[in-house]
Amino acid sequence: MTLDEISIILVYSAMAVYAIAFIAYAIDLARRSAAATKAADDAKSAVGASAPATEAGAATGTAGAVGSAAASGGGAGTLVAAPPARGASVAWGRSPALRVAVAMTVVAWLLHLAADVTRGLAAGRVPWANMYEFALTGTLVITTVYLLVLVVAKHDLRFLGTFVTGLVLVLLGIATVNFYVSVVPLPPALQSAWLVIHVFVATSAVGFLALGFALSVVQLMQARRESFAASAKAVKQNFLATLPDSATLENLAYRVIIIGFILWTFTLMAGAIWAEAAWGRYWGWDTKEVWTFIIWVVYAGYIHARATRGWRGSRSAWLAIIGFSTVLFNFTVVNLFFKGLHAYSGL
């Protein structure tokens, strides 16, 4: 069996484990919704159905009780106090599903890492020289950034696992089915140290921007829920009640995205330096250069929106979502259907 065949087997194993992790994350979200609904019901019966208290306020009042209910249901677990929120907030401890999910994510990440390394060994170079390899390494970076943020961040961000494992699973699936190419030598244009730097930094940027996208989506959902709560409309209790409030999510998204933005800026410049050496000009509005520029400008817009009165909040979140859409567009449509000098998909 060749190293590349081993790599493929590892990729499929990683996908299987990602799938288990994804299901576990989804179960956790469902349980959160159930807990939030139960909290609201408990609150109603405690206060009395006729009492004019909003569900939001009541849910906060019984947060502790729900937390212990969840803990007793899920075996031993520590309670994580939910941060104070404008709307309702329900404490959510370590559910067993969530613990399984994170453990499976780590296992999948290890398999994924092994797959990437063996692919690199099989090729005798860095494993990011064609579209299959970009996808393999890029998704590895997304998982890595997610796990890294779990360790570093003060907030419990494991709820993002559904998005992260889902995205990684879909991208890996598309890559192995549609983009796979066997190991071939590097064409002269790619034989450069910049391949290692430029492409790796680009994929890292994508890892951070993907997480920023997920946080922005949850932020928008949370903001919508908060505005319902504020207008005292009936709030459907769902998993959002167990998550940080929209302002916290926005701050987290911003911090993740500015890292991605700096990496993207570096990608753009490293690419220009490489283009100068390989193509004889540092900037020539090649389609890939155009889209790299567009992505940079959209995220620059996002950062400005954060500092513009009336644009902070949901509007800037939309810009983060548009930004990540352009990243995905650049990776898929531009690579496959646009003519240009960056014709290295290997397809």
Partner: protein
């Protein structure tokens, strides 16, 4: 979120989140007085609009959208052949698109308008901010607020035993100074305090970032005008001298002076091409192209050099890039008497990955009538089932040249420039190939055949005649297609790019914050030290910074109230909810 409206806020556009909120009445006033706006008033109003954050944001988004069409439609700058093809494929649509400069998006009036407006907006924003920042750099940190308890990260510690309040504050000032703060002592109503501010670098970084963006634009716009780029095909064993006339094509910048060309001589000694031979998935894929050249300054020594795909040769103020290569079969034509009327290595343009190449031979003089030949060259010839020839490997294993011969008027005597790579057969008679019924001429290196109608003979020269029988690996010369550039502004662009990254890192990661330490005498006579901070811009680590400074300065608090998180150390008379609510 911490309170942001500062009395002495940074000089920002009105709608910047850090700018002081204008009171509602004043905006009412503005709308009431609007009819009285004079010309200057309108100008001020327009300027204010242009330099507002909202406009900058709008222009940024507009710039992103305006850049899109250039990736959908081929551009003259990067893909001129694509544009020609587009006109051929879409004869109705293309001229309409052309009217809107869709084939020159990045130099078009509308694209330029967007980025120029953006940069004017940027200048209008950066200049007042720079001035304000200059003042701020020389200003003293502001007076300590009367009540610190409402500020971010508020915490208190008992005065360390044996230390006077003044001594404790002096020590705090010294420690803050060591931590990079600018400090100022204030004594208000007998209460010693120190006010400290740090992170001026944040604003410096921001201004450097924006100014460097402007620098890139200027360097590209003006500096780029002094450069040039030119293309030249050089066959092995031949050379070219860096003069305007020697280029196949030449694109000077707006301010380029051709007197500045240094007439050095560049000779191509050998072009090495290496193709994959073992990996079954990638047979024939290029592995390496290396052009071995020699460079000779006017009247100087000749020095060897190497040009590779990712490794340009930088000589005599120009950069030489290897952008293409192919075969240049050496073809000799003799008249019926056997006199040579034409002999040259003719570059053939590669058509596919296996280097099936097309070239044209033009013999204007020496024969009864002008002679033209359209040639196909196959480095490793193979016959398809249809009988057509193709090449199945890019290196020279079984090289075959086929020629279709035309006789008549080449159309080159009129003085109009014609391409050396195309033949206009409109006033010529085809003698071989195609519909003539006469087989095309087919040659391998070293072979000679008679031309039809007794016109003479044509020879495909073997440039390596001493090679072993059947070894064709060096039988045909190769050519290198060099791009030669000079861009004097390139270094400047790089400098500004580095400044952009540096400015960005500093402006996004250096926290700008104020910190205060105050010795307060309680009603019961005990003296406590109060600590608090204020974020100026994004500063997620502020509360932690205040807490750790307090601990470093006065020790971890033994008192239960102080040990708890800041938000719970509510002084008497204040409800904790007040500060937990982020909207305050």
């Amino acid at each position: 979120m911490s309170p942001r409206s500062d009395p002495d806020a940074l000089s920002r556009p009105d709608d910047h989140i850090d700018a002081p909120q204008r009171d509602a009445p004043s905006s009412d006033e503005a709308s009431v007085s609007q009819p009285k706006l004079g010309f200057v008033g309108w100008l001020r109003f327009a300027w204010r609009q242009l330099t507002s954050m909202r406009t900058a944001l709008l222009l940024l988004l507009l710039l992103a959208i305006a850049a899109v069409p250039g990736s959908l439609v081929p551009q003259r700058s990067s893909d001129p052949n694509g544009v020609t093809q587009y006109f051929a494929d879409n004869p109705g649509l293309a001229p309409v698109l052309d009217r809107f400069q869709m084939f020159d998006v990045y130099t078009s009036a509308w694209f330029s308008a967007v980025y120029l407006l953006l940069f004017v907006s940027l200048i209008g924003c950066v200049i007042p901010r720079t001035k304000h920042h200059f003042d701020a750099l020389r200003a003293r940190p502001p007076r300590t607020p009367v009540r610190l308890s409402r500020l971010a990260g508020f915490t208190e510690r008992p005065l360390p035993t044996g230390e006077t309040p003044d001594a404790a504050i002096d020590r705090a000032a010294a420690e803050l100074k060591r931590a990079g703060y600018r400090v100022e002592r204030y004594d208000l109503r007998g209460e010693a305090s120190v006010s400290a501010e740090r992170g001026y670098l944040r604003e410096t970084g921001n201004l450097v970032f924006h100014t460097a963006l402007l620098g890139v634009l200027v360097a590209v716009g003006i500096g780029g005008g002094f450069g040039f780029s030119g293309q030249r095909v050089v066959v092995e064993g031949q050379s070219f001298v860096n003069t305007l006339a020697a280029y196949d094509s030449f694109n000077p910048g707006r301010f380029f002076d051709d007197g500045t060309l240094d007439p050095y001589k560049l000779s191509l000694e050998e072009l090495d091409a290496v193709y994959e031979t073992r990996n079954q998935e990638a047979i024939g894929q290029p592995i390496d192209f290396t052009a071995h050249v020699s460079v000779q300054a006017k009247g100087g020594e000749s020095t060897p050099g190497v040009v590779k795909v990712n490794q340009p040769l930088r000589v005599h103020g120009t950069d030489v890039y290897l952008l293409g290569n192919g075969y240049a079969p050496t073809i000799t034509v003799r008249d019926p008497e056997g006199e040579v009327v034409f002999t040259d290595a003719v570059p053939f343009l590669p058509q596919d990955a296996n280097l099936t190449s097309i070239g044209v031979v033009k013999v204007p003089d020496g024969l009864e009538e002008q002679l033209g030949m359209v040639g196909f060259f196959y480095p490793t010839q193979e016959t398809l089932d249809s009988g057509a020839f193709t090449s199945n490997y890019p290196d020279l294993v079984y090289p075959v040249l086929t020629l279709n011969v035309y006789q008549g008027d080449l159309g080159i005597d009129g003085g109009e420039p014609t391409s050396v790579y195309t033949l206009d057969p409109s006033s010529m008679e085809q003698l071989t190939g195609g519909a003539t019924g006469v087989e095309s001429i087919e040659l391998m290196p070293g072979e000679t055949v008679e031309l039809p109608n007794g016109l003479g003979s044509v020879t495909f020269e073997n440039v390596d005649p001493d090679a072993a029988e059947g070894d064709y690996s060096h039988s045909v010369s190769r050519f290198a297609s060099f791009d030669i550039h000079d861009d004097p502004s390139q270094g400047w662009v790089l400098v500004f790019a580095v400044l952009i990254i540096a400015g960005l890192l500093v402006s996004l990661f250096v926290p700008r914050r104020r910190m205060w330490v105050k010795a307060v005498r309680r009603r019961d006579g005990a003296v406590v030290l109060e600590y608090a901070g204020l974020a100026r811009g994004e500063d997620p680590g502020l509360e932690e910074a205040v807490a750790s400074f307090a601990t470093a300065h006065a020790g971890a608090s033994t008192d239960a109230a102080a040990a708890a998180p800041a938000s719970e150390t509510a002084p008497p008379g204040e409800s904790a909810d007040d500060r937990a609510n982020p909207s305050t």
